[in-house]
Symmetry: C2
Amino acid sequence: MVLKVTVNGWRAARTLWLLLLVSLSVCISVCRATSSREEDSAMENIVTEKKAEESHRQDSADLLIFIMLLTLTILTIWLFKHRRFRFLHETGLAMIYGLIVGVILRYGIHVPRDISNVTMSCHVNASPATLLVNVSGKFYEYTLKGEISANEVNDVQDNEMLRKVTFDPEVFFNILLPPIIFHAGYSLKRRHFFRNMGSILAYAFLGTVISCFIIGLLMYGCVMLMKQMGQLGGDFFFTDCLFFGAIVSATDPVTVLAIFNELQVDVDLYALLFGESVLNDAVAVVLSSSIVAYQPQGDNSHTFEVMAMLKSFGIFLGVFSGSFALGVATGVVTALISFFTKLRDFQLLETALFFLMSWSTFLLAEACGFTGVVAVLFCGITQAHYTFNNLSPESQDRTKQLFELLNFLAENFIFSYMGLTLFTFQNHVFNPMFIIGAFIAVFLGRAANIYPLSFLLNLGRRNKIRSNFQHMMMFAGLRGAMTFALSIRDTATYARQMMFSTTLLVVFFTVWICGGGTTQMLSSFLFCHVTFVGVDSDQDNSVSVAIAEGSERRSTKQESAWLFRIWYNFDHNYLKPILTHSGPPLTATLPPCCGPLARFLTSPQAYENECQLKDDDSDLILTDGDINLTYGDITVSTDASGAHTSSGPAFAGAATSDDLDRELAYGDHELVMRGTRLVLPMDDSEPPFPDPRHGLRM
Amino acid sequence: MVLKVTVNGWRAARTLWLLLLVSLSVCISVCRATSSREEDSAMENIVTEKKAEESHRQDSADLLIFIMLLTLTILTIWLFKHRRFRFLHETGLAMIYGLIVGVILRYGIHVPRDISNVTMSCHVNASPATLLVNVSGKFYEYTLKGEISANEVNDVQDNEMLRKVTFDPEVFFNILLPPIIFHAGYSLKRRHFFRNMGSILAYAFLGTVISCFIIGLLMYGCVMLMKQMGQLGGDFFFTDCLFFGAIVSATDPVTVLAIFNELQVDVDLYALLFGESVLNDAVAVVLSSSIVAYQPQGDNSHTFEVMAMLKSFGIFLGVFSGSFALGVATGVVTALISFFTKLRDFQLLETALFFLMSWSTFLLAEACGFTGVVAVLFCGITQAHYTFNNLSPESQDRTKQLFELLNFLAENFIFSYMGLTLFTFQNHVFNPMFIIGAFIAVFLGRAANIYPLSFLLNLGRRNKIRSNFQHMMMFAGLRGAMTFALSIRDTATYARQMMFSTTLLVVFFTVWICGGGTTQMLSSFLFCHVTFVGVDSDQDNSVSVAIAEGSERRSTKQESAWLFRIWYNFDHNYLKPILTHSGPPLTATLPPCCGPLARFLTSPQAYENECQLKDDDSDLILTDGDINLTYGDITVSTDASGAHTSSGPAFAGAATSDDLDRELAYGDHELVMRGTRLVLPMDDSEPPFPDPRHGLRM
């Protein structure tokens, strides 16, 4: 019976799938045919409204192609998951479908030349944002889209059709990237992230800068060589090389992390890789914009100048810290709002507010001239750290699911567009020498990032980054959405076009080969050497494992970065109580002289929670007798009645370092943490992290 | 303790709220100041990139204003809800905030005149979609935005700032309206909707057409009078009047329905009002576009011509039925996909697919030249009727919550924009006579829709539409998002501008006065006369009520529209089994001669469900003894062991009419309905309907 179901369902599914594939190509050709017919009639009828209508229809049809692509991708992902076929990641799949449609659009359909473009020569010495054109008495308004290089002018007239499936590159930055980055921040495993913060920051900042300069230098050598061999068709300056280095230094975590997640490798190392690739993106964005901002004064704008470089460096620091501050600020404001209002009674309002505040971070940063994507990342982390604790359980689910969905859609859209653009982009410059050089440079740049830094970090770490894990990090350096978005942002000059084409190939190669083909290799490799260094306690609720981990953690205490340790104490004792309903009441953590202030700032709920905790405890007690745990200098003893007693310095003003470790281990459990530093090792799940059984990946 | 919490929380919330209000105005002025400074420097520096960057910053700042507005609205809604203050609906509130910001933008901030607009006179006899401008050797690309009337040309140059907060009207149709309309369709109480389908269709089609023509005629009289008095500043044809009639005939259900929901009035009447106002919108959209399409041949384009009118009528029928067919088709395709694949194992994929397919309806309809909004409505209804049954419970929640959120955000955005646009729109034409005429016409048009039709319908209905409910429907005829979107779509001519200004006032008046002030009046009025005609069984799980309702329903059998009865049998016996996992297996409903076909089409799961049902039954049995229900000619008897026996013709090929009634009552309960026509009156909740405790309103 069950067999019959599967077989029958299978046949039907495959038929359906083929049907969809065929219907997609039919849809494309029909859409195209419609548009061409429409354009023919348009030549006769020059009514503006009709033209606007047509253009709208065309846009709808173009968008429809992408929606169909995404639908196909989803169905195929399902097929793969259903069959446990893991050679190809979903993003790789989206790219393949994009490629197929790109080929169809490029070679399959011929659209008659649209001669409605008019080139006018006007005697204006400016290019205003808005243009009013007086056409035989009627005024038409035009908005500036951008500059076009002289050799593109003919292309514009030739390939109107291909240009129409080309999105404004800013769409990626303003619509598609923010949810992806926010989701990454919101789903960061905070505990492990914070414990490895030192290493992560080293990889993300130092590593990215090293990688950027190594790649830049190597590419400059390559370009010099090409110039001497006469293979260069345009200008290519050192800043261009550095820019290329910056954009290909942004690594994408998705593919390899999906494998990591399935294999349950050491969570600390997992956090290291994930944290690095998330922060990586932020650094690369700001770095590339500071490189663009490098403009020496004087006539020759491509010489080295200390002042200009310092200015670039200043821009980097300013933009990064500004974006960081803004992101954290809106996160804190959201936490405050959800803290002081009782929005949790109305989940829809709560979710809407959360969404709007997170979005406003992006807009605020962009309006202030900072980088929205970076602000959104830190906003996500702050929201997860503070606001999440104030949300109602339903809103916690809703927000997680909402951003998971947005992330999924945006990511697959970008990757399928990537595939499409390989064929539909008009100004590809494929230079074999540059491409080979780029591949070597990317490889060496990543190596120069990982190996030396790992060596240095291992000097300070007790939980060493083993060599096979370092190889893993080499391979896991996929280039993805961020690299693509950065490279497509500006394709005006010859250098940028060559960069864009090369970047596309780098992304394809890393996603397909590193992300796909090596899956099996890596997984077996990992299973032998890396796995089970620690147990992923995020998926393990048993007390014994937690205890074992607790002792293990105590031994690795020194790895908890000292700078983080200071911050952590501050965060736990002052910020958490002020911003969230979890954490101890301020009256307990502030020195007695600040009593009135503490009472003013502490939410009555914190006291309430403290009272409630005693009542709630009974819900948390395991049924099989009493639990008595000893952690260093504090003894937590609970009995079935729910009363708890404790000894040791845990109730003193400042958290001890053992306390910190325990907090790190269990701090995210909302019920347990409310209003006291006592910790019951019941359930260690980290809230904003999708359950691996439900979600697709991290 | 609790009191202290509330008071303390209150004070904090109010402070926070004031703070936000202040910060909004500061934000606005800062954004504006930034932009003006930027524009000053732009005059010196004419680099295109910088200008694009500025424009992007400006856009971000503008969008930020709306986000802040929405945030404020949310917080204030929360305050109102918290204090049980019901005089003002959230949409009304959003409008007020919009108005305030509009005043600030208009009168509070002075931006120096932007002289970067250039008016060029060129000798071209066409207005191409893309323009290439050669500015001193460099080519710039411009895209057509639209025609501007001659008197607007100066405005464009004067008030660049105000124009920048003006969105492209198509944004409303292509981005904001679809989720609202889809949500309406998806959350329609299908059972009650289908039972009152005859009346709903009569109100929606006949009623809207009547209202449109009554208003059109009255307005034409008004315009004629104005012409004679010399108060008319431009052309105003009869088609314009009809167009005005069409757009103000679209009623918005939200406000009054929120009250209805709280008061738990008769569900049938509720469904009548909701169904009418939802379909209303669809009819009004298509009607207005057919009126625009009315173009008699020959020179005088504003005379009456039979052929042109017939053509308009044909367009109405074609576009409406085309959109309907497309919407239903994509709904059915989604149902088929979710039926044949086991996507329910991967909720993220399932939700994403659902979202994409629903969106593709809109795009497909637009690409084919139909009306996307109408297609989306019927897609929503189809998705709720079929696909919803195939989704996993988690995806059912996810999709509900997703569209609830989108609906909430889009709606409040539109209403706050409405408030803003009263002051920021450049070409308002407020003509007192026209406005007074319009108010009278709108009132009379609604009356001519409701009262005569109700009288006619009451001749055929047993569950009469009482006169006080008719008054209710008069008052409930608010004009909202759809009316606004239709009127702002085209504001090129004098007539359209006057219409737009008048429409804005109509919306303000109906939302504030009808929706807000009369709440108390209506609610007391309703409580005395209308409530408790029936009990809203959607919120009542007790068996006794269900039985009582069951018998009540049998007495109103004749009201179930006969045309619906035919369709229903077909739907239940053939469509539901083919498209969903609920409903009886086809082998039971098709005649024996079609055996092989039935076996081919029936999903093995249907058989499985039938088997499972016997096992699952035990879960459905109430613990307090046996239940024995008698419905007309079928006896369902269940005992605690879960075995069920039945007698009567229920297993025959065609469903009897009693069967239909029962099905209507309980058909949406998934577990109960799987694979059999036996019905256990356990839980009558209608799936895609948000729980009133969670959501804000229906």
